[in-house]
């Protein structure tokens, strides 16, 4: 095979739908590739222009628009576009623009047609992608996301670096430095009879794969031993090598690494090394979706530029809902976006105002602290200052800092907190000692009325600055709350204040809610009370966790609830959260501001049944809480 075909093929074969193609079809695609370059900002496909080839993004990023000019999708390396127009034999329907410098591999229509005819899975993939058959798409992408079904070659990001084992360790170190890798594969000229490790290179020459040398080997076997840099690699090679086939699953790759206690695994296509996968690649694979967006956030240099990312945040949310991610994944991703935005705003503020006069920590409460943010949320934040803080000398700085961040968040789609829980509020911008006094006071003298307003502070997480300030507060809460039955009882009473919308005969009790007549507020009547219940139990067992699912795990480990209860609550929280997120996604698609109000008539029978079930479980959990933490004097 010619070298450039191998080059194209190695890349293309890592991405769907090509990753499932037979070797013969892959070779055909790679052999037919044509190439075109587009500068950032230029149009790649103009509406009603001709479509002669399937476009595959080799590097860079593009945006696809709807006819009304709205952003429809953002695609990056390994993604394809143009397939629907090719299938329908029509002109460009969705214009495409390069948003980064982009290199496109064009797969000519005859080859595309051949792939569709020869490979059913390929045909299904291109037929379904972007069409309205959402359900199948969700199932498809779930399959693609599945570590058991995904071939490990999808994680390979570059070709392996190889060196002859007769070379010296210095040459290896130089090669590793030049390619910026932490390992090289060792080879020696092979001959045909030798083992199953013989492979042919681009020019048809046989090589034998004999081992791998890593940074660690150079340190341990050369530098620590005081050996010469001219030592040949063959003399420090382990003589053994664990590798797996590129078609094995990601899961299998991970198990192989764990079983053998190794961090990197050479990947073979038949017998040819095609890459090295790192354990960290697998971890990253799981959280890939929002990474791009987060990177983008840290590149922005003004509040205005950050605010322009709001549609992308929404698009990323929609994509995750459509791809069938669960609420924990979506919540974690949206939280990381929210926290990144906030961190960037603080950086911009510090750049404008100068460095802080005393150390401090910006902290968040509510969903950002619980790691379960959805698409719409108020800002809840506060500031913990170093005890050396002097109001006359330093007060103006932190007030200005809080104002900058709060205004910035508002501009980015996180409206001001109606309850005033923001660092702009003088009460919530205090030295560490004062915060400790606040919490001690709330725990020791729990006036339910006061707690109702301040219980929001009991979910807390650092966002920027001295994280240990917030950790000290978390420690204080974890140790003191569980030793204060009166406090837990007061918190429990607050947690019973919001009842699920169920009538006596298990019918929904609906509320008149603004424009939504006969609606149920999923957040107020379901998710928030559930979070409240879970928080009381978590504080009761001295948990430091902030996320409700993690709290449930710790509650379960501590044996604080009857067997099976925590599982039920976990399932209920997941169900209510994902229904809310899907509802919000639908609202966005219908060009409405997303909210939390769903109308029971508009949900399917089975979903309505599940909703009632979920609310019933919440109701039972509240009853149990009343029993477990009875209010004194009742």
């Amino acid at each position: 095979m010619e070298a450039e075909i191998q080059e194209f093929r190695d890349h293309i074969s890592r991405y769907p739908p090509f990753d499932g193609l037979s070797d013969e079809l892959l070779d055909e695609v790679a052999g037919a590739v044509e190439i075109a370059y587009f500068k950032a900002g230029t149009t790649i496909a103009e509406r009603d222009g001709p479509v002669r080839a399937l476009s595959y993004i080799r590097s860079g990023a593009v945006e696809v628009y709807r006819h009304n000019g709205q952003l429809s999708n953002r695609l990056g390396e390994g993604d394809i576009f143009g397939q629907l127009d090719l299938l329908r034999d029509r002109q460009v329907r969705y214009p495409v623009q390069a948003i980064e410098d982009t290199l496109i591999y064009l797969i000519p229509k005859p080859v595309f047609d051949h792939l569709c005819a020869e490979d059913e899975e390929f045909a299904d993939f291109v037929e379904l992608s972007g069409s309205s058959r959402l359900k199948s798409t969700v199932e498809q992408s779930q399959r693609n996301n599945d570590m058991i079904a995904t071939p490990v070659r999808r994680l390979i990001s570059r070709l392996p670096v190889m060196i002859e084992e007769s070379a010296t360790v210095q040459e290896a170190a130089r090669l590793m430095t030049e390619h910026d890798v932490s390992s090289v594969l060792l080879i020696r000229p092979g001959d045909e009879e030798e083992s199953d490790r013989v492979f042919a290179d681009a020019d048809g020459r046989p090589w034998l794969l004999t081992g791998m040398i890593t940074d660690k080997d150079l340190r341990q076997r050369i530098v620590a031993e005081g050996l010469s840099t001219q030592t040949p690699l063959s003399s420090i090679s382990h003589g053994w090598l664990i590798a797996i086939q590129s078609s094995e699953s990601v899961n299998e790759a991970m198990l192989t690494m764990l079983r053998n206690n190794i961090q990197r695994l050479p990947i073979l296509h038949r017998r040819r090394p095609v890459g090295v996968v790192y354990l960290s690649d697998i971890v990253r694979y799981e959280t890939n979706n929002s990474v791009y967006l987060v990177n983008n956030i840290f590149n922005r240099t003004s509040v205005k530029a950050l605010a322009r990312l709001t549609p992308e945040v929404r698009a990323s949310f929609l994509r995750m809902v459509d791809e069938g991610a669960n609420s924990r994944m979506i919540g974690a991703a949206m939280t990381s976006v929210g926290r990144s935005l906030m961190r960037r705003l603080v950086e911009l503020a510090e750049a404008e105002l100068g460095p802080p006069p005393v150390p401090y920590c910006f902290m968040v409460h509510g969903s950002l602290a619980r790691n379960d943010q959805s698409i719409t949320t108020d800002q809840d934040n506060a500031m913990v200052l170093h005890d050396a803080f002097e109001p006359e000398r330093h007060g103006d700085y932190f007030k200005a800092l809080a104002r900058f961040v709060s205004d910035g968040l508002n501009a980015c789609g996180y409206p001001y907190c109606k309850g005033g829980i923001m660092a702009t509020n003088d009460n919530w911008r205090q030295p560490l000692a004062r915060w400790k006094a606040y919490f001690r006071d709330w725990i020791a003298k729990p006036d339910p009325q006061r707690l109702l307003h301040s219980s929001i502070f009991f979910d807390l997480e650092a966002v920027h600055g001295e994280e240990r300030f917030v950790e000290e507060l978390q420690d204080l809460i974890a140790t003191q709350a569980k030793a204060s039955p009166r406090f837990l009882a007061a918190l429990a009473r607050n947690a019973l204040g919001r009842t699920p919308p169920l009538g006596f005969f298990r019918t929904f009790v609906l509320e008149q809610d603004g424009r939504h007549n006969n609606a149920i507020n999923l957040k107020r009547r379901g998710i928030a009370p559930l979070n409240d219940v879970i928080r009381v139990h978590a504080l009761g067992v001295g948990s430091r966790a902030q996320n409700s699912f993690e709290r449930l795990d710790e509650i379960s480990q501590a044996g604080a609830l009857p067997a099976g209860q925590t599982d039920k609550l976990s399932y209920t929280l997941e169900f209510l959260s994902i229904v809310r997120m899907r509802h919000q996604a639908q609202e966005i698609k219908n060009d409405h501001e997303p909210d939390n109000a769903i109308q029971p008539e508009h949900v399917s029978d089975s979903e309505r049944h599940n909703l009632k079930e979920a609310f019933q479980i919440l109701s039972n959990a509240q009853s149990f809480l009343r029993f477990r933490y009875p209010s004194p004097g009742r």
Binding site: E4, I5, E7, Y37, L103, E171, D203
Partner: protein
């Protein structure tokens, strides 16, 4: 205007040279190359058929060293066509020296079985005919090809080329900003192929294979044109 005409008379244009060579050359492949002609100096680059060319050689000196492999790929500003490209390994007149065989590259045995360059020269010249040649670092491809043709056909082979390295140097090594940077002790940026490509967001390719490098050069040229020029830029602004 008058001045320009004078200079042209003093140094004959590429067109004049091609016309003369078409008459003078005896080798059919060379005659054909020159007869296929050149775009006029004011032809817009966006309309000119191009070919990216890359050699792997045993060293840097065309009088001592020789070509071991040749890759080329036809393209224009819209699209690059690898499948229409060519790749040859050729046997140099002198045996390979050990130090020129780098890791995982062309080796003795492979070269032993390859044809000498004279066997593929006509095919090579035919593939270049009618296209403007684009290379990265002209001081390899131009003198080595000229030396090979002169040695094997006894005639000269010269034509204008576009050098992506020279283009890169225009922005990275010259101009006031680059001068200022140098004044403040900043290292000038590398204008080698891989480093230049990285500046345009082009992916990393495994290098030192003549055809892959030819494709890489073609991509770099498309990127340079997209960023710094327009499709109607006359070729005379670009070729050397």
């Amino acid at each position: 205007m008058l001045l320009r005409r004078k200079t042209r008379q003093a140094a004959p244009s590429w067109a004049d040279y091609f016309a003369r060579q078409t008459q003078a050359c005896k080798t059919p492949a060379l005659k054909h190359l020159y007869a296929a002609g050149l775009p006029t100096e004011d032809s817009p680059i966006g309309e000119v058929p191009l070919v990216a060319l890359d050699f792997e050689t045993t060293g840097l000196n065309p009088r001592e060293h020789a070509i071991v492999s040749i890759g080329l790929v036809p393209f224009d500003l819209r699209v690059i066509r690898p499948a229409a490209g060519r790749y040859w390994v050729v046997k140099p007149p002198r045996p390979l020296r050990a130090e020129s065989i780098a890791i995982h590259r062309i080796t003795h045995s492979e070269v032993e079985h390859a044809p000498p360059i004279t066997a593929i020269l006509d095919e090579l010249l035919a593939a270049l005919a009618g296209r403007l040649v684009v290379v990265h670092y002209r001081n390899i491809e131009r003198p080595f090809l000229e030396a090979a043709v002169l040695a094997n056909r006894g005639e000269r082979c010269l034509f204008p080329v576009i050098d992506t390295m020279e283009l890169e140097a225009r922005w990275e090594r010259q101009g006031r900003l680059a001068g200022l940077k140098r004044l403040f002790g900043r290292q000038p940026p590398s204008i080698r192929l891989a480093a230049s490509r990285a500046r345009y967001g082009l992916p990393h390719y495994s290098s030192h294979h003549a055809k892959v490098d030819a494709i890489a050069t073609a991509e770099l040229f498309q990127a340079q044109m997209a960023r710094h020029f327009r499709p109607d830029t006359p070729v005379s602004d670009l070729w050397i």
